[in-house]
Symmetry: C2
């Protein structure tokens, strides 16, 4: 889904508004589409970011395709764990 | 999206496998579609439930439409807050 024209914002442990600002900045720079990606517990924050951008900052933005998947991550002890992930496309 | 034939599982604070079992039970009872709903921090758990059902228990199940939205909830002091929500449709 994340085609070459998409800008990606990966959600981590910063506060929600940091990521909202990152997405809004990409739209203000001319992006037609921004993909918000997150894993594990950050998934809820990704949804918050998409909703805040759409409702408060970029009123002509719409939620596009939403995908969920399972990714494998390597732990510090070299074992592997599975973690859920989400990709939320926001288009304007 | 949640049409009348859909069965709904609302994600709360129980452990993930409780909700996986609820979804699997509905499919085993003949449901063609189950909608997993969650709000706030439970959104991540909803994605886990959908992924575990699909990958481990109901191998012919696919993720259908995923919607995100903002809902208004009433606090104990009668003020209102907004909270993000998700609906994940799983179909077989």
């Amino acid at each position: 889904m994340a085609n070459e024209n998409s800008n990606v914002v990966f959600i981590g442990k910063k506060n929600v508004m940091s990521y909202v600002l990152a997405v809004v900045t990409q739209f203000n720079g001319g992006a037609k589409s921004v993909v918000i990606k997150a894993r594990g517990k950050m998934i809820s924050r990704a949804v918050d970011v998409a909703e805040i951008v759409r409702n408060r900052f970029v009123s002509d933005a719409k939620v596009g395709k939403i995908s969920i998947m399972t990714e494998e991550v390597q732990n510090e002890d070299n074992t592997k764990s599975k973690v859920s992930a989400i990709e939320i496309e926001v288009v304007r």
